[in-house]
Amino acid sequence: MASVALSEAEKVYIVHGVQPLKITVLKEDLRVDGRGCEDYRCVDVETDVVSNTSGSARVKLGHTDILVGVKAEMGTPKLEKPNEGYLEFFVDCSANATPEFEGRGGDDLGTEIANTLYRIFNNKSSVDLKSLCISPREHCWILYVDVLLLECGGNLFDAISIAVKAALFNTRIPRVRVLEDEEGSKDIELSDDPYDCIRLSVENVPCIVTLCKIGYRHVVDATLQEEACSLASLLVSVTSKGVVTCMRKVGKGSLDPESIFEMMETGKRVGKVLHTSLQNILHKEESLGTKRQKVGFLG
């Protein structure tokens, strides 16, 4: 992961800011930029930024910049799940983000993020895969979700999951009909109206909340400097109802089972608020419709 070098004194300053001097005083949580331990930085979300995709979204969380594009293509369903379509994730860490990602440097991080995305979507309720089926055992929709990391400013997983959810919300899959001839051969017909499409329900799509352990407290939405001070983090993937779909520990340090429990509770709480804000902003953007001023990349 891209990281900054910090001196001992800077790390001590950051750690003391997060954990209070006396254990009884729990009110003292002031991070370097004035946030509390459970505050997120300001998030900018915009959908439909890439025109030749079925759905796209761009999320800016502080200095972290993520672009997600979703393309819907027709293919054959997997053998063990003949009635469902599926999602394929690919994460590209561009050299734009940091020089460490040049050439093959970003591949490790990319595969790690892609595997995490596969895990959090690997359950029946996240996305309704049956709606992606066109004709069982023969045709289905495959959604290729491509994530591009444009800038790395800490808290990658959260930003990526928000962007994936926003892009899936924005995805428009063309409506197809299967026509059967007298001889029995099937033909797939695409409807003439380009706006006739089906949309995915993203009610149960989870979002990741990363909790970094700094000292003996944990913080949400860590910057690069704070990540350099934390030895262990917990990634919790939460749905809008507060259900945890997957949990993963990253980092060299160890976590106490009690702190894992606390972090999970915080993750659930924060996750619910995250989902409500995201739903609100996505609906607001949609309600603006064509009146919305597209900012894109040149704003």
């Binding site: 300053y13 800011g17 001097l21 930029d33 004035g34 300001c42 900012v295």
Partner: protein
């Protein structure tokens, strides 16, 4: 807990919001500055095909017969006598490599402080390839203790007589010419060996922390609005931000409001 999501808003060009009548002459590399051959060529320009062409992206400055282009966003180019804040990245046999946001790493010869960490040093010489040789002139300089580092573009730091400022709000600021700004709590008593070997690792009080966080956010908002950084501008911005909670300063609309107020106060002070 706070969570705010918003739709992005296109940035307004600054000259509109300033209401400036005279627009700066901005050029990009390859633009013709003038076809008049009577001018002397300064930095950032070259002569080609009978006309003066810009080689960097920036604003054209003209002093009598000298035309030069001042780049708006550039890496730090060292000048003798500058104060810089750097981070030690490598320790070699007789010298250290210091990262100072310039094209090449600067070197710090072993005749100065011993411990790795954040160091404050003065530029002693500039090598021909642009690498800068630093030295820590007196015990006033040296390893820095607890505090916050903010990295900004070097062109935004105003050249002044002194770069150490003890602000009345309770924290101190070192404005390095290379764009690295160090904010730290004002030490209670001036120790003789202020650039000491052991950094003070005691916890900093909450009041000091609030001041430091607020200053950091103010500096970030000044930089986002491309204002020059010097002690007066930082202080005015700090005072303008006092009515708002610290974490709100980074919201775009509050940032604009604070910087506008700062700008007006600075104009009043000059005029």
């Amino acid at each position: 807990m706070a969570m705010e999501m918003r739709l992005p808003v296109a940035r307004k060009p600054l000259s509109e919001s300033l209401g400036r009548e005279s627009k700066k002459h901005l050029v990009v590399p390859g633009d013709t500055i003038t076809t008049d051959t009577g001018f002397m060529r300064g930095h950032g320009t070259y002569m080609g095909e009978e006309k003066l062409i810009a080689s960097v992206a920036g604003s054209v400055e003209r002093v009598n017969k000298l035309i030069c282009v001042k780049a708006l966003k550039t890496r730090y180019n060292g000048e003798v006598g500058d104060i810089v804040v750097g981070r030690i990245t490598e320790v070699q046999q007789k010298r250290w490599k210091v990262e100072t946001n310039s094209r090449l790493d600067s070197v710090l010869l072993l005749s100065s402080m011993n411990l790795p960490g954040g160091e404050l040093a003065e530029v002693q010489a500039v090598f021909s390839d642009g690498a800068v040789s630093l030295h820590t002139r007196s015990l006033k300089y040296g390893k820095l203790g607890q505090g916050v580092l903010v990295q900004v573009s070097p062109s935004l730091v105003k050249r002044q007589k002194t770069h150490f400022h003890d602000l009345p709000c309770g924290a101190s600021v070192i404005l390095g010419n290379n764009g690295f700004i160090w904010i730290y709590p004002t030490p209670e008593h001036k120790e003789e060996d202020a650039g000491g070997f052991i950094a003070n690792l005691e916890p900093v009080s909450l009041a000091d922390r609030e001041v430091i966080s607020r200053l950091r956010n103010c500096i970030v908002s000044l930089v986002t609005q491309r204002m020059m950084l010097y002690d007066t501008s930082i202080l005015y911005c700090y005072e303008a931000s006092l009515p708002h909670p610290i974490k709100d300063i980074l919201k775009p609309e509050i940032m604009e409001e604070i910087v506008l107020e700062t700008r007006q106060r600075l104009l009043e002070q000059e005029g």
